[in-house]
């Protein structure tokens, strides 16, 4: 049993820690490249969303290297993500690969049941430990990334360096205390280099989670904006997803209710994925004096398409500029850059001349 899983930002580090802790060998899928995207696109339905294609590419490349157990997530709809596993399984079987697929439904009981299958000889104590370490790594990575947001606009190089260092150290760390030390160290370094009189543009990033978290797919959006001197606040991290959707923590459910109440005048019901949250966050962030909002999502993503068609009205009412960026396998770098530059110019002049209504 050689386990593999798709890439999504730092997800691979977390899952690697989890499965190794459960006593299983893992194979990290090769990093996403043009080839991954091409392989995935070739065997996917034409109009399916980009995450489907890229994760299928991940699986193919991992199977080529000898993986035989694929771990992926399920869902209850209406977003298509919940059905990825079933269709990808069919495609890979028709391609002649031999493998087993473990689909983890977003339900804590099912997660435990599936993982008992993977870790059948492990004691509860060991399983608990594996989960703790993986959880600690996930939280550590997200904490560091969040702290880096404020440093990046004026210390891009340093921020990159610190990030790479931290990622590698966390990946190699074996105990929770070690992980805590890395976080403490990195956060200290970040704090030491911060300058307080700097007031960069602040942009909120809303939209679909996969495109938001996977730098290869979003063409390193957070970094690119950082080099342009912009502070980018992601509205979603991996840990939010796990705590909100899997563990269903009270604070996240409350936060969701809050966002739903904000979005209600524009969108009266949950439409799957993060469509409702995109609208809610846009309103919340306009009240928190952000300079602009960027919405990212894969082409044909159903929930975000609805949000995208509603956001112009929200943008007008709340007087906050919103830029929607749609990604697919054809996305070119230059086109996105041009749009980003134009958007940043707009935000800068708004900041300089005051927020004129309708600008």
């Amino acid at each position: 049993m050689l386990i593999t899983y798709p890439h999504m930002g730092t997800l691979a580090i977390v899952l690697k820690a989890l499965f190794i802790g459960l006593g299983r060998p893992v194979l990290n899928p090769p990093p996403i490249t043009k080839r991954t995207m091409e392989l995935g696109t070739k065997y996917s339905p034409e109009t399916v969303c980009l995450p489907f294609k890229v994760t299928l590419g991940n699986f193919i490349e991992a199977l080529e290297q000898g993986a035989d157990t694929l771990v992926t997530c399920g869902g209850v709809g209406p977003c298509r993500l919940g059905y990825y596993g079933e269709v990808q399984k069919g495609i890979l079987e028709q391609l002649g690969y031999k493998f087993e697929m473990i689909v983890i439904e977003p339900d804590i009981v099912d997660v435990i049941k599936q993982l008992r299958k993977v870790a059948y000889q492990r004691s509860l104590r060991e399983i608990y430990h594996a989960f703790s370490v993986a959880g600690a790594k996930m939280n550590a990575l997200d904490t560091i990334e969040q702290n880096l947001t404020v440093l990046r606009p004026y210390e891009t190089r340093l921020a990159d360096g610190l990030w790479q260092q931290a990622v590698q150290a966390i990946d190699e760390a074996e105990s929770i205390s070690e992980i805590h030390n890395i976080v403490e160290d990195t956060v200290f370094q970040i704090g030491r280099n911060q300058c307080s009189d700097h007031k960069p543009l602040r942009i909120g990033l809303v939209g679909e989670i996969y495109v938001m978290l996977e730098p290869f797919v979003n063409q390193d959006l957070v970094r690119v904006l950082g080099t342009m001197g912009v502070e980018v606040h992601k509205t979603m991290y991996l840990s939010d997803y796990v705590r909100g959707h899997l563990l269903r923590k009270r604070e996240y459910l409350d936060k969701y209710e809050e966002l739903f109440a904000l979005a209600k005048p524009y969108l009266g019901h949950y439409v799957g994925g993060h469509g409702l949250k995109s609208i809610g966050h846009t309103i919340a962030m306009s009240q928190e004096n952000y300079d602009g909002i960027i919405q990212v999502y894969p082409f044909t993503c159903m929930p975000e398409v609805i949000a995208k068609n509603i956001l112009p009205k929200v943008s007008k009412d709340m007087n906050i500029p919103v830029l929607s960026l749609v990604y697919d396998e054809q996305s070119g770098e230059a086109g996105v850059m041009t749009r980003l530059e134009a958007f940043i110019d707009l935000l800068k002049s708004r900041k300089r001349f005051g927020k004129v209504k309708g600008l």
């Binding site: 298509r80 159903m302 609805i306």
Partner: protein, 300 residues
């Protein structure tokens, strides 16, 4: 004069229109249904980005009705079966309209959500009744009477080859969107079988062959019906899956149907339409597919 209520001839109208019309009539409303889709109606929705063609067409229909009625009837059909949803775009339809179209009459977009409890249907009926000043009993009675009006699909078996045309009713039965594909197939001497000719119980049964239950009700039925047509006994000679570009659920459903058609050795074609689809290319593809079916069947 009673309250005038408009029902756009789009999306779920093709499934529930007859019931809705009767129901509103029973409640004392004067019901106005928009006409067949035309080229103008289709173009009116062009201001929306990236949505599928049926949603754009729905915009056009609402446009048609907007200044003629007091209310628009577009119930928010969130779920029609336990554990399933309809489609995100159908769920968000009334919000898309409100934020993108000026001068709209009030929209009756009562939530219909049977995902957890079937009883919620009566909640919705009651809420609609209230708009027309009807008590719960009168509303339920109106619904009860309207339900008898459900369209029965009759299947007439004719000579000739048989092809299954799988697609959302609002695509294959809208003659503008589907480019009148059913009539074209009839002209080519093919009998056309659509998903609604399969009883939901049979579709449900056939859909068990799919590993995970599809969580979009209509796609679930479509896939189930397609699988029912594929059953041994050769109910049909080939399968055409018709979808509109950027339809989310269909991207998945079509792939599942295609995989099963492949393993059952049944010819399968995916027809994608959008507002730019040209007639000539469309006709060529249908003819090529039917020619192939004719030749294939002549051999066996």
């Amino acid at each position: 004069m009673g309250i005038r209520v408009g029902i756009p001839r789009c999306l779920l109208f093709y499934q529930y229109g007859a019931i809705w019309e009767k129901f509103l009539g029973e409640l004392g409303a004067e019901v106005l249904v928009s006409g067949d889709t035309t080229r103008q109606i289709m173009d009116a929705g062009g201001e929306l980005d990236e949505v599928c063609l049926p949603v754009k067409v729905a915009f056009g229909h609402v446009h048609e009705l907007a200044d003629k009625v007091d209310y628009l009837f577009l119930p928010r059909m969130i779920s029609v079966a336990e554990g399933q949803y309809t489609c995100p775009k159908i769920i968000g339809m009334s919000d898309l309209l409100r934020t993108n179209m000026a001068g709209l009459p009030a929209i009756i977009d009562v939530d219909v959500n049977l995902r957890q409890k079937k009883r919620n249907l009566y909640k919705a009926i009651n809420e609609i009744g209230k708009i027309f000043n009807k008590g719960p009993l009168a509303s339920f009675y109106a619904w009860h009477k309207a339900k008898q009006n459900q369209r029965k699909v009759t299947v007439a078996a004719l000579a000739g080859r048989r092809v299954a045309l799988i697609g959302h009713p609002y695509i294959i039965h809208d003659r503008q969107i589907s480019m009148d594909v059913i009539k074209r197939l009839h002209k080519l001497n093919f009998n056309v079988f659509t998903p609604e000719m399969i009883a939901s119980r049979d579709a449900e049964q056939a859909a068990k062959a799919i590993g995970k239950r599809i969580f979009w009700s209509y796609s679930h039925h479509m896939a189930g019906a397609a699988l029912a047509y594929m059953k041994p006994g050769k109910l049909v000679d080939g399968i055409i899956f018709m979808t509109s570009f950027s339809c989310g659920p269909d991207a998945i459903t079509a792939e599942i149907v295609s995989q099963h058609a492949h393993s059952n050795g049944l010819p399968y074609m995916l027809l994608t339409v959008d507002e730019h689809t040209a007639e000539a290319g469309f006709v060529t593809r249908i003819e090529a597919f039917t020619d192939m079916l004719n030749r294939r069947c002549a051999l066996c």
